[in-house]
């Protein structure tokens, strides 16, 4: 061997050259420092999908259905029935988007995600939207590469304890063991609450909510904590629901809302304005029952919302009658609320903060005009 350097160079050349042909086009382009590759090259790998203005909508339409990340089963928000059909506020919101896009609220597939996996699933493009009782916080909005489309439910964290424990106030929980789900704001609020009052506590964090519930139900913990709406929903799963009470203190603000990836402003607009359309429809008295009559309405607000005037659907890449399809599919926000968590359901939750601003709540949607 006379000249090892030459052989070395030849080897590197063959190695890289070989790769150039073996790897897909965009890989070679990245290697060659040519920057962004065309989106078509990565179509087969959802994990590496690229976004840009309009890209998410194009992809959803090409696929023919919406991928929606939901919880693994939280009554009233997203839970499957015995035949596997999903229902809940978060589920209906996704159906509303599907209706806005396809004119058919059934063109959506639900992917149950644990609290721990939900953000990675959205970041990697496994789901198009995360509609999973997720609290809007600054760090999630700014550090994870997400945008929140708004607030679909104003919630707050509370505690549940056994009636037999004689506890009536959260402060009596000093020294107690509390069960909760890992990877939630709940875990942090719990720490804040006890730390702020200088009280002692033990927290047992489970990966799945159902495990936390059953641990509490079997007496491994003295209390269970999550958002108040969740407490009412989870209580239904207990062996003896009536033996448990929800303490009156609300220890945090939990504005729950749908989450989308940053980087596709059009998709963010669709998510935000679908939510606004639901609220505006309620405000204008448009329901799934009177939608056909409302189409004839002379009220300019109604006409704009239902696409008879202006081109608001087109401005986000949708059809003019997108709101009609939404309301036909799931009704307005009030209908969704009453159907899933309202006073006539097993959860029996009052509108409270979630009433429209005109009814003493804080639900206030920007106008569609």
């Amino acid at each position: 061997m006379r000249n090892p350097v030459a052989a070395l160079l030849l080897g590197i050349l063959i190695g890289v050259g070989g790769l150039y042909f073996v790897l897909p086009y965009d890989a070679a382009a990245v290697l060659a420092g040519r920057g962004t590759a065309p989106a078509t090259a990565v179509e087969t790998e959802p994990g590496a999908e690229r976004t840009g203005a309009g890209e998410t909508l194009r992809r959803v339409m090409r696929r023919g259905f919406l991928q929606c990340g939901v919880s693994q089963g939280l009554a009233g928000f997203s839970s499957p029935d015995e035949r596997g059909r999903w229902s809940g506020i978060d589920v209906d919101y996704c159906r509303a988007i599907a209706a806005a896009i396809f004119g058919d609220g059934e063109k959506v597939r639900f992917r149950p995600l644990s609290a721990k996996d939900r953000f990675t699933a959205l970041q990697s493009g496994e789901v198009d939207i995360l509609s999973r009782n997720t609290t809007w916080t600054m760090s999630r909005d700014t550090q994870l590469g997400f945008d929140f489309a708004g607030v679909i439910y104003y919630d707050g964290q509370a505690f549940m304890v056994r009636k037999s424990s004689g506890i009536t106030k959260a402060e009596q929980l000093a020294g107690a063991t509390i069960c909760t789900q890992t990877g939630t704001t709940t875990e942090l609020n719990l720490a804040d609450y006890f730390r702020g009052r200088g009280l002692d506590y033990r927290v047992l964090s489970f990966e799945k909510n159902d495990e936390a519930i059953s641990a509490y139900d079997q007496g491994r913990c003295d209390g269970y904590t999550t958002d108040a709406s969740g407490l009412y929903a989870e209580r239904l799963k207990m062996q003896h629901p009536a033996d448990n009470i929800v303490l009156p203190e609300i220890i945090s603000k939990e504005p729950l809302g749908p989450v989308i990836r940053q980087g596709d402003p059009q998709w963010a607009d669709i998510a935000r304005w679908t939510l606004s359309a639901l609220l505006n429809a309620e405000e204008l008295g448009i329901t799934s029952e009177n939608i056909e009559e409302m189409r004839e309405s002379e009220n300019p607000l109604v006409r704009r919302l239902l696409g008879a005037e202006g081109s608001y659907g087109a401005s986000v890449g949708l059809r003019p009658d997108w709101v009609i399809d939404i309301v036909r599919a799931v009704g307005n926000y009030g209908e969704i609320f009453e159907r899933n968590v309202g006073v006539d359901t097993p959860l029996g939750i009052e509108r409270g903060l979630n009433a429209l601003w005109t009814d003493g709540g804080v639900m206030y949607a920007p106008p569609i005009r």
Binding site: M1, G11, I14, G18, A48, T177, R202, L204, E207, R220
Partner: protein
């Protein structure tokens, strides 16, 4: 010859550098893609998050940790929780495994069959199921703290865990533990001296017994002179739970039980194979020389069997350490649950967190292998 394709050395260098370059290029490609995507998606990167306040509580901490501690501290807590389960599990499963392995070869029919049944049942049921069994079926249904079972005075068993009395050091502690250490050192020296003397003169000295006696007597003497080394502080029942005492969480107990019993079945088989690999003639020859059964086992069979036992034993130890990450299924706060679970979710920095976690397991495994290989080399057959 010069550079010619027909020169085998040239070909080999070309192939090898080619492969190396390809590997580097692939790694670089993935890194570059990940970095580009993270930037585009506006996801924060870097390891700065380790200094940020964690803000969540952990139920078992071996080092001081509060909600104000950093994510880096939470990482250490998780790591120590993993290590404590792994170390205890390794010690217990090795001891139990040796007992099972020897029992399977016992001439006692019943004992051998029980050991065989144990091995077949334990190693053929998935570990995760066994963990669920111990946690959900055995430990969870225990009574609450108010009706806890008091097994011994001050020892409470409830669904909050096993509560033991806390030993609190007294004035005599220094002298007591000093005497214990001195006895251990003296015993060690004595055993070595006895061995050297036996080699030189052939005379036997009951070193082990004397050493054992030293270890018992010296600390007792220190106790008598210096006063009580420690007293037990019993746990008291509080409003919800016990306060004080040493607490073994049910999650911890279930994990240690599951890992130990599962791995012990495999170690038992390894031990049996090792012992059976030693030729029968060796034992017979030892018997012909008049060695006792126990001496034959200790001096003839085990040293030769160990050579076969140690390499597969190493991989079982590694398995146990890695299997401890199943803790997440039963809410034990190990490294995966605390760091790759809670911290990952609160910070959203999946790549960094997973990279650190993988690096930790890799380091643990390599360190274990290194130690076991060193031990294996020490006991290897030295040809003279």
């Amino acid at each position: 010859m010069g550079i010619s394709w027909y020169n085998p050395r040239v070909r080999s260098i070309v192939y090898q550098t080619g492969v190396l370059a390809a590997v580097i290029a692939v790694v670089w490609f993935f890194t570059a893609t990940a970095q580009e995507n993270l930037e585009r998606l506006n996801i924060s990167t870097g390891f700065g998050f380790l200094d940020t306040t964690a803000g969540f509580g952990i139920i078992q901490t071996l080092i001081p940790y509060t909600e104000q501690s950093s994510y880096g501290r939470a990482f250490l807590v998780g790591l120590l929780n993993t290590l404590s389960v792994a170390v205890i599990g390794i010690v217990l499963s090795t001891m139990l495994g040796f007992v099972i392995g020897v029992a399977r070869l016992s001439p006692n029919w019943l004992l051998a069959k029980i050991a065989a049944a144990y091995v077949e049942v334990m190693r053929n049921i998935p570990l995760l199921l066994q963990l669920f069994f111990w946690y959900f079926a055995v430990l969870r249904p225990l009574p609450g703290p108010a009706e806890s079972i008091e097994a011994l005075p001050g020892v409470f068993l409830s669904n909050r865990g096993l509560i033991l009395p806390d030993p609190v050091l007294d004035a005599g502690a220094g002298m007591f533990f000093g005497a214990l250490a001195a006895a251990a050192v003296a015993g060690f020296v004595l055993v070595r001296w006895a061995r050297a003397r036996q080699r030189a003169t052939g005379q036997l000295f009951p070193a082990l017994r004397v050493a054992a006696a030293l270890i018992v007597v010296l600390p007792l003497l220190a106790w008598a002179i210096g006063g009580t080394p420690f007293h037990l502080e019993y746990a008291t029942r509080g409003d919800f739970d016990f306060s004080g005492g040493v607490r073994l969480l049910p999650e911890f107990v279930a994990l240690v039980l599951g890992l130990t019993l599962y791995t012990a079945a495999f170690i038992g088989e390894i031990v049996r194979a090792g012992i059976q690999s030693v030729d029968r003639g060796q034992g017979e020859a030892a018997a012909a020389l008049g060695l006792k059964d126990s001496t034959t086992l200790r001096l003839v069979v085990v040293p030769q069997a160990l050579r076969l036992i140690v390499p597969p034993l190493t991989s079982q130890i590694l398995n146990l350490t890695k299997n401890s990450s199943l803790a997440v299924a039963i809410a034990y706060p190990d490294l995966v649950a605390v760091f790759a679970g809670t911290v990952l979710n609160q910070t959203g920095q999946a790549i960094e967190v997973i990279a650190i976690t993988m690096a930790v397991y890799l380091t643990l495994s390599l360190a274990t292998s290194l130690a076991m290989n060193w031990y294996n080399a020490r006991i290897a057959l030295r040809e003279r």
